[in-house]
C-alpha cells in the first residue's frame, strides 16, 4: 500500500465525479431554454443511478474474474472488494479505491449519450435504457479492454483511460439513438440554437479540470506516468480548442467561444486513450487532429447526413475517440510507458492494426446491442415524448419545474 498513490487516486475519483455534473452544464447550455433542467437532470440522475448499479453488479461484470467477454459475479455488491490492494489491477492502492475510480467512468459514459436524445426522450425510457446499456454494453467492453483476461487486453490493444471504453461506446450509441429517435421538431430551421453558451463554457472548463483525474488518475499512482498524462491532456485540450476555433473562424468568420469550448473537449477525448503512451509533441498533433476532424464531423453529420445528434456526441466523442485510439497506434512509445507498446512511428505498424481491430470490435458491438436495447425500450415504454410535450418543453411537462423564474 502506498499512501501517496492512494491519495492521488482518491482525489482523481473526486475529479472525475465532478465531470458528470459538469457535462450536465455543458449540455444544458446547448439546448433550448425550455429543456435546460431536463438535460441537466439526465447527467445528475445517471450519477446517482449508476453509482448504485456499479456497486451492485456493474463492477463485478466488468472486473471480477471471468472469461474473455464478461466478468463474473464474485464481486456483486462489492463483496470481496476491500481495503487491501488487488495486485491484478493496482498493487499500491485499496481495491475499493480502484473500484470507486472505475465507477466514475461507468457513470459518465451513459451520461455522454444523453446529448444525442436531448429535448425529446421520455424520462422513463432514459432510465431503463441507461440501466440496460450500462449492463450489456459498458460492462462487457470495459472487461474486454481493461480486465485481466479481457480479449482486447490480451490481444494487445492500448486504451489508457477510456478512448474505446468510454468515448467510442458513447459516440456510437449516440449515433444509433439519434437515428432511432428521429429529428427534433424544428431541426434544420435554425430554431434550436443554444440558450446559454455561458453554461456550456463553464461545463467545458469543469470537464477540462476533471479530465486531469480521468487521465492522470489512470496511472493509478502518484508518479511520472501521471505527470506525463496530465501534461499531454492539457496540451491536447488546448490544441483541440485552438484548432476548432481556427477552422470555425475561417469557415464562419468568427472566433467562436462555443467552438473553443467544443474543440477543447474534442482534444480531451482524443488524448484519453493515448495519454499514458505518448509524449508531449505527439499530444499537439493529436489535439490538432481532434479539433479539425471533429469540427468537420459536426458539419457533415448535420448538413449531409441529416441525423439530429442533438449535442454532437458522435462527432465529438465518436470521431474524437476513434482518432485518439488510432493515434495511439501511431504515436505510442515505450519510452513514455514501458508497459505499453511502440506505435507505427516507432517501428511497430502492428500496433496500429490492433488499435483498428479494437475500434471496429467496440463500435460494431456497441451499435448492435444499443439498437436492440432501444428497440426493447421503444416497444415497452416508448422512446419519444408526444409532440405536444416536446413543443412545450420537458422541464415543465416531465419535471414540473422551470430553469429560470424571470
Amino acid at each position: 500500500m502506498d499512501t501517496g498513490d492512494t491519495a492521488w487516486v482518491l482525489a482523481s475519483t473526486a475529479l472525475v465525479m465532478l465531470m458528470t455534473p459538469a457535462l450536465g452544464f455543458f449540455y444544458g447550455g446547448l439546448v433550448q431554454r425550455k429543456n435546460a433542467l431536463s438535460t441537466i437532470m439526465h447527467s445528475f440522475f445517471i450519477l446517482a443511478l449508476i453509482s448504485v448499479q456499479w456497486v451492485l453488479w456493474g463492477y463485478s461484470l466488468a472486473f471480477a474474474p471471468g472469461g474473455g467477454f464478461i466478468g463474473g459475479l464474485d464481486w456483486i455488491a462489492f463483496r470481496g472488494v476491500g481495503q487491501e490492494p488487488n495486485a491484478d489491477y493496482a498493487a499500491t492502492i485499496p481495491a475499493l479505491s480502484f473500484a470507486a475510480f472505475q465507477m466514475m467512468f461507468a457513470i459518465i459514459t451513459p451520461a455522454l449519450i444523453t446529448g444525442a436524445f436531448a429535448e425529446r426522450k421520455r424520462f422513463k425510457a432514459m432510465v431503463v435504457f441507461t440501466l440496460l446499456w450500462a449492463t450489456f454494453v459498458y460492462a462487457p467492453v470495459a472487461h474486454w479492454v481493461w480486465a485481466v483476461g479481457g480479449w482486447l487486453r490480451t490481444y494487445g490493444a492500448l486504451d489508457f483511460a477510456g478512448g474505446t471504453v468510454v468515448h467510442i461506446t458513447a459516440g456510437i450509441a449516440a449515433l444509433v439513438a439519434a437515428s432511432m429517435l428521429g429529428k427534433r421538431i424544428g431541426f434544420g430551421q435554425g430554431s434550436l440554437e443554444p440558450h446559454n453558451v455561458t453554461y456550456t463554457v463553464l461545463g467545458a472548463g469543469l470537464l477540462w479540470f476533471g479530465w486531469f483525474g480521468f487521465n492522470a488518475g489512470s496511472a493509478l499512482g502518484a508518479n511520472g506516468l501521471a505527470a506525463n498524462a496530465l501534461v499531454v491532456t492539457n496540451t491536447a485540450a488546448a490544441m483541440g480548442g485552438l484548432a476548432w476555433m481556427t477552422v470555425a473562424w475561417i469557415r464562419h468568420g468568427h472566433p467562436s467561444v462555443l467552438g473553443l469550448a467544443c474543440g477543447a473537449v474534442a482534444g480531451l477525448v482524443a488524448i484519453t486513450p493515448a495519454s499514458g503512451y505518448v509524449d508531449t509533441p505527439a499530444s499537439i498533433i493529436i489535439g490538432l487532429g481532434a479539433g479539425v476532424f471533429c469540427f468537420f464531423a459536426v458539419d457533415i453529420l448535420k448538413q449531409n447526413v441529416g441525423v439530429d445528434d442533438a449535442l454532437d456526441v458522435f462527432a465529438v466523442h465518436g470521431v474524437g475517440g476513434i482518432w485518439g485510439a488510432l493515434a495511439t497506434g501511431l504515436f505510442a512509445t515505450t519510452t513514455v510507458n514501458p508497459a505499453g507498446a511502440n506505435g507505427l512511428f516507432y517501428g511497430n505498424p502492428e500496433q496500429l492494426l490492433k488499435q483498428a481491430v479494437a475500434v471496429a470490435a467496440v463500435a460494431g458491438f456497441t451499435a448492435v446491442v444499443t439498437f436492440i436495447i432501444l428497440k426493447l425500450v421503444d416497444v415497452t415504454i416508448g422512446l419519444r415524448v408526444p409532440e405536444q410535450e416536446e413543443v412545450l418543453g420537458l422541464d415543465t411537462t416531465t419535471h414540473g419545474e422551470v430553469a429560470y423564474q424571470m
Binding site: V52, Q53, V55, L56, I76, A77, R79, R122, K124, V127, V128, L131, I381, V385, P386, Q388, E389, L392, T396, T397, T398, G400
Partner: protein
C-alpha cells in the same frame, strides 16, 4: 448470496419498479390570467 446483498438488491429494484409505476401524465403549464393583470377590471 448473503442477506445484506439480497436486501441491497431488493432496495434498489424497489425504487426502479416505483419509477416505472409512477404517474406518467405530463404536467402541462396552465396560465391563469387575472383580469387585474391585463387592466380589464
Amino acid at each position: 448470496m448473503d442477506m445484506m446483498v439480497l436486501a441491497s438488491f431488493v432496495s434498489f429494484f424497489a425504487l426502479v419498479l416505483a419509477w416505472l409505476a409512477a404517474p406518467a401524465v405530463a404536467k402541462l403549464p396552465i396560465v391563469i390570467i387575472e383580469p387585474s393583470t391585463v387592466g380589464a377590471d
